[in-house]
């Protein structure tokens, strides 16, 4: 899966400085860093991509938000959003 590596090239090309990006889990900024190296989390994602989406589906949380730390917060919010949404079934 080359897309994430390509995005890394772009992020470096445009000199994105976001601290959460520069030191993030996806593209670690380490001394031993070599272009294309990724963290264990990113590697997990790549593995899932290669193996198929079955396990990836289990990683999704409500509202299409993938990260666990948003889960509780997002569940409450999406309940509050329900009366305003123009489409149902997107969770």
């Amino acid at each position: 899966m080359t897309s994430l590596f390509d995005l890394e090239i772009i992020a470096r090309m445009v000199q994105l400085k976001h601290p959460l990006y520069r030191s993030s889990m996806l593209f670690p900024e380490e001394k031993s860093y070599a272009p294309g190296d990724v963290s264990p989390l990113a590697q997990d994602i790549f593995d899932l991509m290669l193996k198929g989406s079955k396990k990836a589906k289990s990683l999704r949380t409500e509202g299409g938000v993938a990260f666990a730390q948003y889960h509780d917060q997002s569940r409450q919010l999406y309940q509050a959003l329900e009366p305003y949404a123009r489409v149902s079934g997107f969770r």
């Binding site: 080359t2 992020a11 593209f27 994602i45 917060q73």
Partner: protein, 298 residues
């Protein structure tokens, strides 16, 4: 020349359906019909309510920034086709540099307005080194990146974000903008959490729409740049890893991830350079992983 570029931009957007016909029939939902293409040269897009009706706004600067970043990135030998070392990237191939190297590149081209004569012509200071096949790849990604932004803005409306904030009297007059503060009440963790979730949710729906639509596009549909890319492959006789065929699911999947991720990165860059690396939007890594996982499960 700037006017010609604006016409190109307008032409590209005009080709868009508000939503794929399948989605519309499945969801029976209203979409944003009013779209304003602004001549502003900073990278931005957004949605707002005007007299209760939704309006989408997209800046010309978004078009320029996407084009600039893509053309520059495609100077990297292995970009889009393989993992590549960063050292492969020749530094001298700027495509849309405006004057001296600037901190505003890739997110704000307002300097063009300060140039005399034919401003954009003067802005194009260097020759374009790309092969036709690479230009076709860049054009294709530009199309899908714009399409993703379009879906993302539609998603804010479809998912009820505007109405929710409006009901709580927290919707700024300017609405939701991708490169600015989220609402007129952006203090407190709760509101930040809303902003995070809104953006991630809109990213997810936009990605679902883009993946579903893109995977279903027939290669012979001349209304899409996939067809033009296919023609470029046949004309150039290029094949294999240098020109992945656009009729495979893996190539189209890669296109979707690239298009969505590129937008997330450039919007972050705009916020960062505007001093708005605030808590109003999720970090780009969160957005990219969210986009990737959503695409996988679509």
């Amino acid at each position: 020349m700037l006017a010609a570029l604006a016409d190109d931009f307008r032409g590209a957007i005009k080709r868009f359906d508000p939503l794929n016909t399948t989605f519309r029939s499945d969801w029976s939902t209203d979409t944003i019909e009013k779209v304003r293409l602004r001549r502003a040269l900073d990278l931005n897009a957004g949605v707002s309510l005007q007299s209760g009706q939704p309006e989408m706004r997209i800046n010309l600067g978004l078009y320029l920034a996407l084009q600039d970043a893509l053309l520059d990135a495609f100077c990297v030998r292995g970009f889009f086709v393989s993992r590549t070392a960063q050292t492969d990237r020749p530094n001298a191939y700027g495509v849309l540099s405006v004057g001296a190297p600037s901190d505003t590149r890739y997110h704000d081209y307002s300097e063009i307005n300060d140039l005399d004569g034919d401003p954009l012509a003067r802005a194009l200071t260097r020759a374009m080194p790309l092969q036709p096949i690479r230009l076709a790849q860049a054009d294709m990604l530009l199309f899908f990146a714009l399409r993703w932004v379009w879906f993302h803005e539609q998603a804010h409306w479809i998912l009820g974000h505007l109405d929710y904030l409006s009901a709580k009297n927290r919707l700024a007059k300017t609405g939701l903008k991708e490169a600015e503060l989220f609402s007129n009440h952006s203090e407190g963790a709760e509101t930040y959490g809303e902003a995070y979730c809104f953006e991630l949710q809109a990213d997810a729906l936009a990605t679902q729409c883009l993946v579903a639509e893109t995977l279903g596009l027939p290669p012979a549909d001349i209304s899409t740049p996939i067809y033009e890319y296919q023609l470029a492959i046949e004309t150039s006789g290029t094949s294999g890893t240098f020109a992945p065929p656009p009729n495979t699911r893996s190539t189209r999947f890669r296109i979707c991830l690239m298009a969505a991720g590129l937008c997330a990165l450039l919007f972050e860059l705009r916020r960062e350079r505007s001093g708005l690396t605030s808590k109003t939007h999720p970090p780009p890594t969160a957005r990219i992983i969210n986009i990737a996982l959503t695409a996988l499960s679509t």
